[in-house]
């Protein structure tokens, strides 16, 4: 049971811990970001209901961009587990 035979197991252990913590943090960031986007959009619509179409379009655009970054982080976590 020397360090040489334990090395792959330690690497896998480290990869699992890192990937799961990373995924949790990524989801945390995405949740906060999307919450702020939604609340800003809702406030804008409540102030001026005629502009609700434009506000909705912009909200969806910003939401996709923020979500994209979160999903990229999740793919990196999957990569860490698999490799």
């Amino acid at each position: 049971m020397d360090i040489g035979t334990l090395a792959p197991a330690i690497m896998k252990f480290g990869a699992f811990i890192g990937a799961t913590i990373g995924a949790g943090l990524a989801v945390l960031g995405v949740g906060l970001g999307l919450g702020r986007i939604g609340s800003a959009a809702a406030e804008g619509i409540s102030r001026q209901p005629e502009a609700s179409g434009k506000i909705q379009t912009n909200m969806l655009l910003a939401a996709v961009l923020v979500e994209g970054v979160g999903i990229i982080a999740l793919v990196i976590c999957i990569l860490a587990i698999v490799m």
């Binding site: 969806l60 655009l61 996709v64 961009l65 994209g68 970054v69 999903i71 990229i72 999740l74 793919v75 999957i78 698999v82």
Partner: protein
């Protein structure tokens, strides 16, 4: 069926192997290898793999839908059919609401590229929603490859699409502002001379990272959706119990509905961001 008759000992079911076989391309076991040319000892060949076949189908669908629209538009005074008005309203919406505001009047020649990207990614994503339907055995292999999965869930495909956008927006910027003027004008007006190299470096890294984000966003969205859908269904096979069946299918239906929405949205976002980058690159302020 001869394939079942000559099966050896039953294979151990491995969740990760089944998942990977569904999602990745079968590039090690192609259906056919069409040799192109050889330099010295290496030879370059077209390998006809699963994603190659699917990409050809997507390309043919894009061509077919646009030829259909053009054919119907030859006589513009007849009552439009439903397919025709679908494509017409889609094209008109993308042109007026999405491409015109960002590309401007001098960017009219880029509408075609951006709409082609949109249709290709849209059809690729939607074709990936069809569950794998047909097993075909590559010659010389034991395992059959199921035709299914998203073409845009392949990093090579999205890399190619992102490279097209990158080349087009840099080339159009260099054509509009001069070969060196484009790179110099990346820094805003009024930066002091000593800060110029840093600002230019930062802007160049910004261009690279925006393109990389474009590539990875499409890839990650498609892969994430398919992995989630397949994992839940493969759990049924792994646990070998019939109680999981209905729950898994219902949960999978919900995820599939979300994935349909994400498929259309990601195509829209990719083409909109491409148009945005091209518009920024060639805007003369």
């Amino acid at each position: 069926m001869p394939a079942l008759a000559e099966a050896g000992p039953p294979h151990e079911f491995s969740l990760s192997k089944a998942l990977f076989a569904e999602i990745t391309d079968s590039i090690d076991h192609p259906f056919a290898k069409l040799p192109l040319f050889s330099i010295g000892r290496t030879s370059i060949a077209f390998s006809v793999t699963k994603h190659f076949i699917l990409m050809t189908a997507v390309g043919l669908l894009v061509l077919a839908s646009m030829f259909y629209l053009a054919h119907k538009l030859k006589d513009p005074f007849r009552t439009p059919t439903r397919m025709q008005s679908l494509f017409e309203s889609l094209l008109q919406y993308m042109r007026e609401q999405v491409y015109e505001p960002v590309l401007g009047p001098e960017g009219r020649r880029f509408h075609l590229l951006c709409f082609t990207l949109f249709l290709f990614i849209l059809y690729g994503n939607l074709l990936g929603m069809i569950p794998p339907f047909a097993p075909i055995k590559p010659p010389g292999e034991n395992e059959a490859v199921w035709l299914g999965g998203a073409v845009t869930g392949n990093l090579a495909t999205t890399l190619a699409l992102g490279l097209i956008t990158f080349i087009v927006f840099n080339a159009s910027g260099m054509r509009a502002k001069g070969a060196f003027g484009y790179w110099r004008k990346l820094a805003p007006e009024g930066t002091p001379g000593w800060m110029l190299p840093f600002t230019l470096l930062l802007e160049f890294v910004g261009i690279l990272s925006k393109t990389l984000a474009l590539i990875m966003r499409l890839f990650a969205n498609m892969i994430g959706g398919h992995v989630a859908m397949l994992l839940i269904l493969l759990l049924i096979v792994k646990f070998q119990s019939i109680a999981i069946g209905p729950i898994a299918v219902v949960v999978d239906l919900a995820i599939m509905a979300l994935e349909l929405f994400v498929a259309v949205l990601q195509a829209y976002i990719f083409s909109f961001l491409s148009a945005l980058f091209i518009g920024i690159a060639q805007r003369k302020h």
